[in-house]
Subunit: 155 residues, 3 copies
């Protein structure tokens, strides 16, 4: 598979939805793909040095729950933190790498990571809070690469 | 349109978001596409023999509601089941096929369905609970096909 | 970049998720792409003459909040409207165009906008409530264009 290209737009910033971009990017890179991930909207959270992502079952009835739980209960104070802790624990027990590790693997595999400048400005984010080695750009930067890519995914 | 290919990643497991993968897959197959759907994360729910999917308006202010309803009310016990019942009823009245039928159409049209082994392990899912005829694989399996596909969609 | 093509499926109908389709479509059009957006499911809301879209942090722990707020509070009456107002105000202050303007830019750049007939029927939507100049079609219409596109995105 010589010189294939994968373009990803990562737009979500929760613990669960943080996985697909990094898993797909690192897998493709391992397969020899040239990979570029454009982080925009809530996806910018995935670039912070210190990740503090949460997961919630609210609005996601597809999430497997250890036990059935009324929606109202899922909205109670502390519940989001508890679900986040449980998912992290489960992932660790199952040997799933943490997001930081997957991101590091991507960086080592020379996955290009681009932060959306417009979103950074909109949410007054501090570029110094992001990991090193990333670039900044706009939607045009995305298309420069995606226009030539074999696979493009909006996550 | 000879020998086109469509690669889908299906990641959501609610009643509403279960439709796009099966509608797009079956339509493309009918148009002569070779289609592969990789079910991962919450999307694994779509492969269960007995589907028990729900829909909620929580976190989705874009959902058309029969009448305006405060968010708090939408979180009340029983509300998710009621919304699920109402959507199913509406779809039936409008002649929209049930998810099981669409899935069956996909199987008959030789859409290849692949369950993400990592997610199965992570959520301790029972492979015997899935429909027959599916395969198991990983992200690399997805790229094998997607790398050659004309259209790739992350749903 | 001569004669590149971008195919988008726009499926979400909230204020925040209304931006990506129009930003990506207008940027690509400005770069010389031929662009087609297929509006389906909740994405149909984006075609209404008078947009009345909301945003919520419920179910989206990745949203940057001006201050931490328990999930339960986010579900209180009036909270969704307040968050919508705050996001609109912030976007205006930062010089981000309104959705209506971006949509107008797309129309001027000859982005083809197609409303999913099945969704219109399902939700009993009034075609007269949509902006002028759009077309109606189905999933097959989408593939007609996407099958030849350089970039396809499911948003």
């Amino acid at each position: 598979m010589p010189d294939k290209k994968l373009a990803i737009i990562a737009t979500k910033g929760s613990l669960d939805w943080g996985y697909p971009p990094f898993i797909l990017a690192s897998t493709a890179a391992a397969l020899g793909y040239q990979v570029q991930v454009f982080f925009t909207f809530y996806g910018l959270q995935l670039l912070r040095k210190k990740l503090d992502l949460k997961v919630t079952s609210l609005g996601n009835p597809g999430m497997p729950m250890p036990m059935p739980m009324p929606v109202m209960l899922q909205a109670l104070p502390g519940m989001q933190s508890m679900m986040t802790m449980m998912m992290k624990k489960k992932m660790k027990a199952k040997g799933v790498a943490e997001l930081e590790e997957l991101r590091e693997m991507c960086a080592e595999a020379e996955v290009r990571m681009i932060a959306c400048q417009m979103t950074v400005d909109l949410f007054d984010m501090d570029p110094a809070s992001f990991v090193d080695g990333i670039e900044f750009g706009g939607a045009a930067t995305f298309f420069e690469f995606a226009g030539e890519a074999d696979v493009s995914l909006f996550i």
